[in-house]
Symmetry: C2
């Protein structure tokens, strides 16, 4: 199929990852090979920049700059949390026609696939030749269709290395340590903490994920049991930790009632006080998708530490060393912690999108599937934008991919060996974890 | 001078670092060279293990195990927060005589130097031939005498790489980001965030350290100014952030009064609620040295974020994106983030201690000093244990080393170029931070 000569726009959206720039550079390097691609423009801050016609000339970047940017975490073009309305998509389409844009590549999550799908539909209706491709990225690994998402492997590597160190630290000075890991809806990243285990007895000793619900009592009992058995405990908890209704603990009436029933009134007061601060600051800030803030605060980790402190003191009369960390934004942006497999695949997805467009394909999302049955290998394939965005799903069906049941242990506080084997290749090389022979 | 044949004990103490095992392996590898050293024993969990006569045979470890342990963060022998009393030291001395221990190496902070000094004194009084050496380690870099401390370079590298990523993240999705860094008394590690700056406009845009005091208003005004100028702000704050009386913010009556005067009553309530939780858990847990817990909680970061949220909403009527992370234990134990310079020096300090002992020297602390005036080079030298522990200092004189005034900017919200030049070599290689040309 012949391709239409014209200009190319590429943009990045959503929470950055350590390899989202690899996908960007994959697009640019592949695009440089084709005569039918004229200008190669980067939209600043996703579709927000496109709407403001803020473009960076990507042909002007040296090969070295492109490699440096590829190796740098976060979105080099800037990102956005902007969910365009139908009118915005129309306006974007107008801008595209005015600038003779014939190729649009959007690197982002399922909302980006949705936006790309809307723009694609308008182009089809107007009979305007436009190729629209989505390159998936998310540290949460919860996009539909693809085996896994570029960005996840590097974030998982960060989490594993953090837990390796935390486990050795917890061995050296025993106590109870809780680490809160990113991931609102899906527990893939929290589950990746299991990859930190190398030697017998290594933590994490429990893993709590949003695919399951937990009561305060269940959580306390689990930690108490681990501590009784090992004289220490390292626990991984997803920021999306929720009650049986699916509400996150910090905003859960069920948790509040249980704390009250357990006589942990001081925690209920603390929850109230935390809520009052939000009101004093003009009300809780929700993002464009209506999500409350979970990351960038240590509140959940502190709440869990407080619950365990009170519980252990009541049960044992003692005060074991209790620490809680929220792993924070380093999970998606720590400089110098990149999975080589993830970096390679992220770049490949950008290049694959351009090749599809150059083959005359009009739209799609570049996904991954595993090939062969022996050692790890993966190939890209093209999925429909609607399948990745989940836009045509019946109401009530999840538009993201939770961890499969087979990967979760029956007691809901762990992941299976099958999960570890599935995830391991995505993290690339991990550091050694040496232990003295006793 | 002749050396007495006998056994060797080495132990690790205090907060682990990423290279404290390098010092351990430096001791072991050097000790293996000398016939007069018989058993090479590792005391488990510092002097606590020595008191329980829990020793690991370090001659039994393979060369590969030793290298693996050296490359692994945290204390391979286990650590402790134990401050031995005079009687404990006497008992340790008894154990040493019973086991024919003639060489004792203690890797730790100034408390370890103090313990080593007491044991040394007892040995001298009893006319028992014992060599006692201290190998300094601390991520806080606040030990006396030495130019810098093994452990600091790797922690500083972690902080710099975290801020590199956080800065790119904050560029991609602009807002206000506060990162709380470890360091109770001294701001060296917080100051190391400045090493993240590569390109014009890079953060951190403000650095708050325990060597200076800050009011709530000063902090708010600074962040507001940065945000107004840059449309974003990345701020590094030490966990030891304090008021003019030297009390940390979370426990400061001055801060509480100022919040009240500023009409931030919701924050005062939250501080009260936080304190009540401690009471419900049996009272705040202090460590053996009487320190309240600062690390392993996100409370300070959350408090600062809340203050800024309320302040910005009042001043502007808007709610800028506000995130706060507490960098947490990853700073001292993240697997795979080690400064090669730091690793080399930590190992050298262990080896140097053994060489001093083999030269018939009875006690000392292995310190570092810079040599030459051109590119970075350092050598070890021996200091007196009392000088490093600060035990003979007049009452009221600080037994730790704060950042020198010349390294702090006059506005107290930053560090000088001189500091950056001083610190840079200690971090070893840093990742690239690529930026697209505009």
């Amino acid at each position: 199929m012949a391709t239409t000569p014209g200009n190319l726009v590429v943009a990045q959206s959503g929470g950055p990852t350590s390899v989202i720039n690899q996908s960007l550079v994959g697009v640019v390097q592949e695009a440089l090979k084709y005569d039918s691609i004229q200008k190669i423009l980067g939209g600043r801050h996703g579709l927000e920049g496109v709407l403001r016609e803020e473009f960076t000339d990507l042909r002007k970047q040296t090969a070295q700059t492109l490699e440096d940017v590829a190796a740098t975490p976060s979105a080099g073009l800037g990102s956005c949390r902007f969910k365009p309305k139908e009118e915005d998509c129309k306006r974007i389409f107008e801008i595209f026609t005015r600038h003779n844009v014939r190729y649009f590549f959007y690197i982002g999550g399922n909302d980006s696939a949705l936006s790309a799908g809307i723009i694609n539909k308008i182009a089809q209706e107007q009979n305007y030749e436009l190729s629209v491709f989505h390159c998936p990225k998310t540290i949460d690994n919860d996009l539909l269709v693809t085996d896994h998402c570029p960005g996840f492997g590097s974030a998982a590597k960060y989490v594993a290395q953090a837990f390796m160190g935390n486990d050795m630290d917890n061995r050296a000075i025993p106590g109870i340590k809780i680490d809160v890991v990113m991931g609102r809806n899906a527990g893939w990243l929290t589950a990746a903490s299991a990859l930190a285990r190398v030697n017998a007895g290594d933590g994490p000793h429990a893993i709590c994920i949003p695919e399951r619900s937990y009561t305060v009592s269940e959580f306390c009992t689990k930690v108490e049991d681990i501590f009784a058995k090992n004289k220490r405990a390292l626990v991984a908890v997803s920021e999306g930790l929720c009650d049986k209704d699916g509400n996150v603990w910090l905003q859960s009436d069920i948790v509040r009632r249980e704390l009250h029933d357990l006589g942990m009134e001081s925690l209920v007061k603390w929850m109230d006080a935390t809520g009052e601060i939000e009101n004093a600051a003009g009300g809780a800030k929700l993002d464009a998708f209506g999500h409350a803030q979970l990351s960038g605060t240590g509140a959940l980790a502190d709440m869990l530490a407080s619950i365990i402190k009170i519980h252990m003191h009541r049960k044992t009369g003692k005060k074991p060393r209790m620490r809680a960390d929220t792993l924070g934004y380093a999970q998606r942006s720590f400089a110098g912690c990149v999975s080589d497999v993830d970096a390679r695949e992220a770049r490949a997805s950008g290049a694959a999108a351009v090749r599809e467009a150059m083959n005359g394909i009009r739209s799609g999302s570049i996904c991954f599937r595993r090939t062969g049955s022996g050692s790890y290998s993966c190939e890209t394939f093209r999925a429909a934008l609607e399948d990745v965005s989940g836009v045509n799903f019946p109401k009530g069906v999840k538009q993201y991919r939770p961890i499969e049941d087979k990967f979760i242990t029956e007691d809901k506080f762990g992941v299976t060996t099958e999960f570890v084997e599935w995830a391991r290749p995505l993290l690339g090389a991990l550091p050694v974890k040496g232990m003295l022979a006793s």
